[in-house]
Symmetry: C2
Subunit: 391 residues, 2 copies
């Protein structure tokens, strides 16, 4: 270590973080998973229960109730799908889209593209409204397309994890969708409990999320919620759902359409993950949704302020930023791969690379759940200072 390095106050902090508090664990500042709390970690190791044990069914009911609060919905059918976030997406399309149905999707990143491609694979007639990666979908343009195309489902990505864009105008889109009797679908993977979300007020009929983002839980479950209007539409399907694992009717026999309804076996729920999700949701609700969103916003602001001197500039305009995940354009002549390696191996800090057309051009820095605080920003800044000093 050089004399300069030893004298740099950032370095002291950096060495400290690397060798003590983070010695055995990564600080996960990528697009998720993020770190989980000790409470969530302990609940993950709770002694197992059988999937039909009354105590476990109580835990499932608790989970449903807490998810309703998190989504800000009264939807009876709200529960976690037994798979990761993409499983929630697939569950929604498998149940609500039939071959030949019209599907309209806003595409401004990986996850809008993924929705579009899956709808095509399932034999839907698909149209899209596109925007640059890093920009939101133009709401007027989308609503105009809704009126002319009259889709069965209108889908948008509320929190685009590939670009860090938060889609606004959700209520307007919902109203336009309902005007043509369409269902409104939202990808809420990185927005749930990290950004304002009003599923019922917005008129969202079909929403899915993931556990490893702002909920602060390991990956493995995909919370979903379905409006009564959606359930009604499900009953009008002309064909059976071409899936067993994702068949809503079969799953409901197990997770129950409402509390107190008799259950029967469909699949063996991932018990430990449900325990962890329940604890994570409890932490969310103890903090309060508004406070939690404000904390995510404050952390994102601090991050942008602290990274600006290094030459990192936000990709997304201020009013459209997804606070839990900020995408930065990189400094000039910056070896982003070398810098990510340095952060990971010398500082135990993970940041996210760009995806698709943004690969090599941006970093995605997540400050989610328990990581949405100034300490995370400080650790990252320490690591960057160290990198720039050595390179």
């Amino acid at each position: 270590m050089s004399f300069d390095e030893k004298m740099n106050p950032y370095m002291v902090s950096s060495m400290h973080s690397t060798t003590t508090s983070l010695s055995s664990e990564r600080l996960l500042l990528g697009p998720g998973p993020c770190n989980i709390s000790d409470r969530v970690s302990a609940s993950l190791s709770r002694p197992l229960l059988g999937h039909l044990d009354p105590l476990f069914l109580d835990a499932m009911d608790t989970c449903k109730e807490r998810l309703r609060d998190a989504f800000q919905t009264k939807n009876e059918v709200t529960f976690p799908i037994s798979g990761t976030g993409s499983a929630g997406m697939e569950f929604l399309l498998a149940n609500f889209l039939e071959p030949g149905d019209r599907f309209l999707v806003g595409v401004n990143g990986v996850f809008g593209t993924r929705l579009m491609n899956l709808a095509k694979k399932m034999g839907a007639q698909v149209e899209s409204v596109e925007a640059d990666w890093g920009s939101p979908i133009d709401v007027s343009q989308l609503c105009e397309k809704i009126r002319s195309f009259k889709p069965k489902i209108v889908a948008v990505v509320n929190g685009e994890t590939s670009t860090g864009v938060y889609q606004r105008g959700m209520h307007t889109i919902g109203t336009s969708a309902h005007d043509v009797d369409a269902l409104f679908l939202a990808d809420c993977v990185t927005s749930l409990t990290g950004m304002p979300m009003e599923i019922d007020t917005w008129g969202v009929d079909l929403a899915f999320s993931g556990t490893q983002k702002c909920l602060g839980c390991p990956p493995g479950l995909s919370p979903i919620t379905l409006s009564d209007r959606a359930i009604q539409r499900f009953k009008e399907r002309s064909q059976s759902v071409p899936s067993f694992y994702f068949d809503l009717e079969e799953i409901l026999k197990y997770v129950g359409p409402q509390e107190g309804t008799p259950r029967s076996y469909h699949h063996t729920a991932p018990i430990s993950m449900i325990f962890a999700l329940n604890e994570a949701l409890q932490e969310v609700l103890e903090e309060g949704l508004e406070t939690r969103c404000q904390r995510h916003a404050a952390a994102a602001s601090l991050l942008i302020e602290k990274l600006e001197p290094f030459g990192f500039t936000p990709l997304v305009a201020a009013e459209h930023r997804l606070n839990p995940l900020t995408t930065f354009q990189l400094p000039d002549e910056f070896d982003e791969q070398a810098a990510r390696r340095h952060l990971l191996y010398s500082h135990q800090i993970e940041v996210g690379a760009g995806l698709g057309p943004l690969a090599g051009k941006v970093w995605r820095i997540g400050l989610m759940a328990g990581n949405a605080n100034s300490q995370s920003v400080d650790h990252l800044v320490d690591g960057l200072v160290d990198y720039f000093e050595k390179n």
Copy 2:
């Protein structure tokens, strides 16, 4: 407590088990999940890693290697699907069955029925060879049907979790399947590492399992293995797979067709569950497959011997029993629901009820993974003695 109860040596043991060693946890002697070891529990709470972290990708490679050993296969494409056991079944049919394909399945319980129904939902031409619930599929009859029907896939349930039947004659079925150029599919959910299994020797091309049975891991993952012949057949598909979550081609870009191959993002793997599975597999391999199977067999024998005096008789003939899960016909005038409630609430012991036509007629008692020992049998006997004393 009555004087008689105090004097009954079983009662002492029973009270002990309820109030101390099992005070905060159930003894899970149903069809799975079973209890997990302290090692597996601790690994579940290991600090998270990102899903693209080189350390996590190493863990995934380790998992694949250990699964190959457990399945007794050299199949390169062997990995855990991010969903519970039924997700593995759906993954296999989604990738290897196209509408109009011929599908032949042995049906002698819930899980054969499930395979049959899913193949129908997917638009296959389905035929079945049936057997009574509690009996194996007649191998000659199945092979004859293979020759006449010439299916694309022949499916059997190697370990029927609904009845406790272990299907023998796997090598003969595999040979017949290959003679007509069919793929051989096996449901190995409750047989993997609890019963002899030789995927390569048997000629099984497509196999799936679950983590919450003989592997002694929580539910949440479905290990699968695919032969080279299956991979070749996959490449000859006429249509794209109508799924994103289960699309083999997409998943392989992430989990990797072989070690050292570059990875790209498909979904966020359930990190904590992979850690737990790796530890569970390590325990399996330390014990050795043969020893482990013998332990399951010895526990099942002891269980049958100890329950016989109560009037419980095995449903399945000795040579066809699935040792990890024994199905018992119940004593005369036995209130099976009351007895299960008593075991659960007074002794913290879960046993499994019958499914489908066997509901109310049998119990399914699982002695799986760490529960396959005489202590489990003793606890259950204690609980039953107590029940019969009080009723």
